[in-house]
């Protein structure tokens, strides 16, 4: 029997507000343990929460970006459970009335677009972190993360494979980055997800028993976890066994999951309205105002790059998936005002710029390079004033801190030689000392041409116009 995999995801994203959700402590990662805390976020007796309104604004923006209905009157609720990293023994969250609901995002997979429903988005507070270390006995708690604002984005069970789940996660991540409400750093845990998987015979319209998986710490881990769980369920069903609704814990290192909680011992969180906080009320005008703050989102951007700028789908997607790249590219397009083809700019952004970013792990915004400098390089090449190779030299100089392009060209002698007589002299000199290659070419080994042109370029220190060189070398060889 053929089976279909059904996936739904609950994504938690930490918001990058300056302060925490219910107190004035700094919302920052990686600082010394228990330094970003106060009586409120550590739940000392008698303390009270007050809502950071930025959190609501950020969440509403995400609601807009995912086409949700915004509930401009909603409340907060307590989710009660005991754990040492939860100092109040309840988490302030939202139960029956979330801030945003009934939305969707469109994902792209192998050139096909698919719509994934968003059930709801609600705000809540993060818990602390348990520290286990050989350096000390037992377990200690770091409360720095207590009260860091989170949004939980719950999807409909609309995904049918781990690849779709990955595409959905990538889409959410880039939206979060585009609207700048989360740092989206997986390694710091700023996005985490719980995965719900079920399987059913292909063609069936009823859902199978759903298994929830915790401890999924990366997008690729999510794919592995989904594939493993779907296989486990299919194999079990094929053996005639039953699937139980339960929570399992994913172990990414071992590539397996184990039962954490069965349905019978599922926790009763005893949700009830948080009496310490008043109803959240967002005026309709404010909701509309926040909508205006939503920038062009990745999907719309990709479509525009392809349709209006003539980029390939692949290039458009590659640029759009990385916000610094998008920023640089969009600014270049704006500055160059059609003097340079978008395709050429795209090649630079996806070529040298991306290579630099990948190799160094640096953001281009941290370097002296900016859109106008990059445009200048590209324009000089387009006008044949410098060679492509020289362009790369200038790029590196700029990155190194030397931003005066004219001076670089002057000092490094990068001005391109397009003058026929000057190039002719270089060609003659090169061919004179490379007679063997000349003979090879004439004997039919045509790849000698590339070598000879390369030698000419080298002799000109990269300044010769490569097209001119090739033309003159050919002219000589064909004589």
């Amino acid at each position: 029997m053929e089976f279909e995999t059904i996936v739904g995801l609950e994504v938690h994203a930490e918001l990058n507000t300056k302060t925490k959700i219910y107190c004035n402590c700094k919302n920052a990662f990686g600082l010394e343990v228990n330094t970003q805390i106060c009586p409120i976020c550590t739940g000392m007796p008698g303390t009270l929460p007050t809502l950071n309104e930025k959190v609501v604004e950020y969440a509403v923006k995400m609601g807009h970006a995912t086409n949700c209905t915004i509930n401009n009157v909603c409340k907060q609720d307590r989710k009660n459970y005991f754990y040492p990293d939860l100092p109040k023994a309840y988490q302030i969250s939202q139960a029956d009335i979330p801030l945003c609901e009934h939305g969707y995002v469109d994902i792209m997979l192998d050139g096909n677009e698919k719509r994934i429903g968003i059930t709801r988005i609600h705000i809540e507070e993060d818990a602390g972190k348990m520290l286990h270390n050989d350096a000390f006995q037992g377990t200690l708690v770091d409360f720095n993360r207590c009260g860091v604002p989170l949004i939980e984005i719950v999807s409909e069970p609309d995904m049918r494979s781990s690849a779709e789940a990955k595409a959905y996660l990538d889409t959410l991540k880039s939206i979060l980055q585009y609207i700048d409400i989360s740092d989206c750093k997986m390694e710091q845990g700023s996005i985490r997800c719980d995965v719900n998987v079920s399987v059913r015979p292909k063609g069936s319209t009823e859902f199978g028993k759903r298994v929830e998986m915790k401890n999924v710490n990366s997008f690729s881990g999510a794919m592995r976890a989904i594939d493993y769980e779907a296989n486990r369920q299919i194999e079990a069903l094929s053996r005639g066994e039953e699937i139980y609704q339960e929570t399992r814990r994913w172990d990414d290192q071992k590539g397996v999951n184990v039962v954490l909680r069965t349905k019978e011992d599922a926790q009763d969180y005893r949700y009830f309205p948080e009496p310490d906080l008043s109803t959240i009320y967002i005026p309709v005008e404010k909701v509309e105002e926040l909508k205006k703050e939503i920038p062009e989102l990745p999907n719309a951007k990709i479509k525009r790059y392809v349709k209006e700028l003539g980029l390939s789908q692949t290039d458009a997607e590659l640029i759009a998936e990385n916000l610094p790249r998008v920023k640089l590219f969009d600014e270049c397009i704006e500055i160059s005002k059609n003097r340079v083809s978008p395709k050429v700019i795209s090649n630079w952004v996806l070529g040298d710029v991306s290579k630099y970013m990948n190799e160094t792990g640096r953001d281009i915004a941290e370097t002296p390079l900016n859109a106008s400098l990059l445009c200048r390089i590209v324009e000089l090449i387009e006008k044949n004033e410098i060679s492509n190779t020289s362009g790369k030299v200038i790029f590196e100089e700029i990155i190194a801190g030397n931003t005066d392009i004219d001076k670089i060209i002057e000092e490094k002698g990068l001005k391109q030689i397009s003058d026929d007589s000057a190039i002719e002299k270089i060609v003659n000199d090169v061919l004179a000392v490379n007679q063997k290659s000349v003979e090879d070419y004439r004997g039919g080994k045509t790849n000698a041409l590339g070598f000879l042109v390369g030698q000419c370029m080298k002799a000109s220190k990269g300044q010769a116009n490569p097209a001119k060189c090739k033309e003159l070398v050919l002219k000589y060889l064909e004589q």
Partner: protein, 483 residues
């Protein structure tokens, strides 16, 4: 006459005129506390050194800078109000060693007015109870009859003021916890409008009902203290942003034309006849002065106790979950794992009544029961609010007994929780509706004080205090009980 016997407003003038020093006054009050507390048991912690030091400090300041009218006056604080650097136990083993690292909002006000803190007062554990018998540390006795309870949960706050071991005090009121002990001990107790006094730093029992308020031996003192502690606090999301008058300055005993509502439900079965009579006699005195008596009905009152115990226990079960032995307070000595640590710590750290409420609250919030209990209780609460609003179309204040009977004997109700809970029948509706109410001594039955409760609309404290003041003018200010 000893200094501890004077009222705060008298002492305020004596201090201002340098007829007496705060140090002398403080020593007099502390001396009274030490002399009587073996019998009364009002204090959990007496802050003798700090108090005298603070008094001297205020004496030095006097004449050099303008001081608050309450500067230098000794005050006792209920032990569920966070006091920076001073033990705050909530009368529980769970917090037997807990010293808060911060001051409650009201303590900042008290400190900024240079009042002298005499100590922390006994109460029912985590403010759950009606007799102060649920304290882990000691039982408090009623200064009018040591065999009787002082009422609860602010039993220490009422008994200290009544005995003269504090000039004024702060209590907290979730279902009657200021008014009921005020009535039993024969002092004035004000439960303010929900949201008028910040709850920041008050260890929460039931967040939607809790409110801090003053206890004093006369209306003017209560008004002065209330004027000091009320006001907006950005740290409490339920705090109301509004201007408050100087309640003490505006006090007048004027009741001419005042419409006083008498709700039949508060004078029915279960209310002691002699208490009823004493209360109605006092109301009649006001009528003689030009007040108008209006008969009203608040039919949902019969569901109020049930609704109250569901809502307050539900919130308490969540509020008290943080006492888990992880970060502060009591932790069991031996345990096998985390769950065992939680279970033992909470079983050993909480007293029976607290555990009863936590279990009750946990039950009513459980899935499958939420709608039948919590949701239904909230519907009752809605009806109670509506009926009060309707009633206030017909009258300005509502007069009821503050308690169905005078103080009962220690141990009398301890084995019967429902009988104990019934003592709150006259007071819980006020908290459910978030209204202000004052309990005012209006006479005695068999030597024990009777409290008359005036309930008003939200933020009508001035009217309530004025009405209480009219009663006080008939009977005179209360003096400390003789011991």
């Amino acid at each position: 006459m000893e200094l501890y016997e004077y009222s705060a407003h008298e002492l305020s003038e004596m201090l201002a005129d340098s007829k007496v020093s705060s140090e002398e006054l403080t020593k007099s009050v502390l001396c009274r506390a030490k002399a009587t507390d073996d019998k009364i048991g009002a204090y959990i912690t007496i802050c003798e050194e700090n108090a005298i030091e603070k008094a001297r400090e205020v004496d030095k300041k006097r004449g050099k800078e303008p001081l608050h009218p309450l500067a230098g006056i000794p005050i006792g604080i209920k032990d569920n109000i966070s006091t920076k650097g001073i033990l705050t136990t909530c009368a529980s083993k769970m917090l037997y060693n807990y010293v808060p690292p911060f001051d409650a909002f009201v303590m900042k006000k008290i400190n900024s007015a240079d009042m002298v803190i005499t100590g922390k007062l006994n109460m029912d554990e985590f403010a759950m109870g009606s007799s102060t018998e649920n304290s882990y540390f000691k039982k408090t006795h009623n200064p009018h009859n040591l065999e009787c309870v002082p009422g609860g949960s602010s039993g220490g706050s009422a008994a200290a003021v009544s005995a003269g071991s504090a000039v004024v005090s702060l209590g907290s009121d979730t279902g009657g916890s200021i008014r009921m002990p005020a009535a039993y001990c024969g002092v004035v107790g004000l439960k303010p409008t929900y949201g008028s006094v910040s709850r920041y730093g008050l260890v929460a029992f039931a967040s939607s009902l809790d409110q801090i308020g003053p206890l004093a031996r006369n209306v003017r003192d209560a008004a002065m203290l209330y004027s000091l502690i009320c006001g907006y606090d950005s740290m409490d999301a339920t705090s109301q942003q509004r201007e408050y008058p100087n309640f003490a300055e505006l006090l007048n005993g004027e009741v001419k034309g005042l419409k006083i509502g008498i709700p039949e439900e508060y004078y029915g079965e279960g209310v002691d006849n002699s208490v009823k009579e004493t209360v109605l006699n006092a109301v009649k005195e006001l009528e003689k002065q030009g007040a108008e008596i209006v008969n009203i009905s608040l039919p949902s009152t019969k569901y109020a106790l049930n609704a109250y115990y569901i809502i307050s226990s539900a919130e308490a079960s969540s509020n008290l979950a943080r006492f888990d032995g992880v970060k502060y307070g009591y932790r069991t000595e031996e345990f096998t794992d985390l769950t065992d640590m939680y279970e033992k710590t909470r079983s050993e750290g909480f007293g029976d009544e607290v555990k009863r409420r936590i279990m009750l609250g946990t039950f009513v919030l459980s899935s499958g029961f939420f709608d039948a209990y919590y949701k239904k209780a909230k519907l009752v609460a809605f009806d109670i609010c509506k009926e009060f609003n309707e009633a206030f179309q017909k009258c300005d204040v509502i007069a009821t007994p503050a308690t169905p009977a005078t103080a009962f004997k220690l141990g009398e109700n301890i084995g019967d929780p429902t009988k104990m809970y019934a003592a709150d029948i006259c007071t819980v509706t006020v908290n459910i509706a978030g209204l202000p109410a004052v309990s005012m001594p209006c006479g005695k039955v068999n030597g024990m004080p009777v409290g008359l409760q005036f309930i008003g609309q939200k933020f009508s404290e001035q009217t309530l205090l004025n009405t209480a003041y009219a009663i006080e003018q008939l009977n005179g200010e209360i003096k400390p009980a003789e011991l």
